[in-house]
Symmetry: C2
Subunit: 210 residues, 2 copies
DNA sequence: GCTAATATACCGACCGGTCGGTACAGTACC
DNA sequence: GGTACTGTACCGACCGGTCGGTATATTAGC
């Protein structure tokens, strides 16, 4: 991979994260990088291709910065899950509630406009849910029985995305923190633990109980 | 209010809901309504003004179609809350997972681009949370003690928005339904009820327990 | 070791088209 | 005859993308 290509993708990722895909012009990216237009179109055949490259870059960054250190740690699977949520929290705090989740942003912007982007984003969200699901699965020994892991993992993704949205629109981390705290308390009810292992909490997250 | 003005707002609301604000052109709206450009700028001094009018229109529609019938019903406050969630569910189903939540869409698109829109959207989200909070407050008699109503209501908003996002990107109501079912089960743990009123569930949603 | 050929990297002018917005003449109604 | 409304022509800025052409480094043939 060319270094300049990576440099374009890096800059484009940042601008698109803040301004959205359609609202980011090629000229915005050229101005930031100093790359000239003819050169840009040597590396990317279209803005669309850049968009896909940006998605891959963002996934890689997220894995490298947030996931990998936690996965490599000695924590229990359940605590890893909590730490992922905390990592997302500190990401938003660091960004001062600007940008939000780049995947959530692009999902809402593009899902009804561009089927190709929608499919890639669907895969990304599926991956997010599967990350939580595999952590929950690894934590099965820590959990009460009858928990629908797929459903709970989807729920976690929704709370995370919804919480980040609230932070972005309120320009405050408080509402997101409130949501995440509720989520953690909810998750702790799935845990076989000192509070209540066999009583009322066990049915939470069960299938077909409604 | 002029009838034609309302007609423009109605059409603009639909298009903006599907394509986003910046990605909807004035010409899109003119084509849909048959209104000519000079006429449009007689009723709206700018696209921005139209955007604010669209937000007001969407709020009105949401109240009229989803909230008012439920508020006027004889249900208990707690059941009203459940019915609001169900109403949001059927809205997404009816739209075949297209569009998503217009407020969530615009919040993610515009919060970092336009401070005026951000502020109005923040108010709207505050209103959503307050709606749930007031229902929870009215349901206080049905609830266990020590529930942080503000925090829980914020949590509900996040799950709703996150769930709708998942429906939109997956083009399926299933992930959203899963989230909403988890949410309802969570809410039922806040309820003073036959399952467990004084045991493990009461601490859910409490402040400062972490 | 020189030259010719080739691939990669880069440049900036330019394209057709669209954007939000304006100017202004015409018209319908009181 | 004024006022509220409507239609059309038009504006400059910007959009994504293309174009012909250049600089440079590598390689091949002799």
């Amino acid at each position: 991979m060319s270094e300049k290509r990576e440099q374009i993708i890096e800059a484009a990722s940042q601008i698109i994260h803040l301004k959205g895909f359609n609202n980011t012009s090629i000229d915005d990216i050229l101005q930031r990088t100093g790359v000239k237009k003819g050169n840009f179109y040597f590396y990317f055949k279209s803005k669309e291709e850049l968009g896909f490259a940006v998605l891959e870059h963002l996934i890689g960054e997220f894995h490298r910065r947030c996931l990998a250190p936690i996965q490599a740690s000695a924590d229990t699977p359940f605590n890893k899950m909590i730490r992922v949520i905390d990592a997302l929290d500190s990401e938003q705090a660091k960004a001062q509630c600007c940008g939000g989740c780049p995947f959530g942003n692009m999902a809402l912007e593009l899902s009804d406009l561009h089927e190709g982007f929608r499919q890639r984003l669907e895969e990304i969200f599926r991956g997010m849910a599967q990350l939580f699901q595999s952590l929950l699965k690894d934590a099965a020994g820590e959990l009460v029985e009858g928990v629908d892991l797929e459903e709970v993992s989807q729920f976690i993704v929704a709370v995370v995305e919804g919480g980040i949205m609230l932070a972005k629109v309120h320009k405050s981390i408080t509402p997101m923190r409130q949501c995440f705290r509720q989520l953690k308390q909810y998750l702790s009810t799935l845990r076989r633990g000192p509070i209540d292992a066999s009583g009322s909490a066990q049915w939470l997250g069960k299938r077909n109980t409604q």
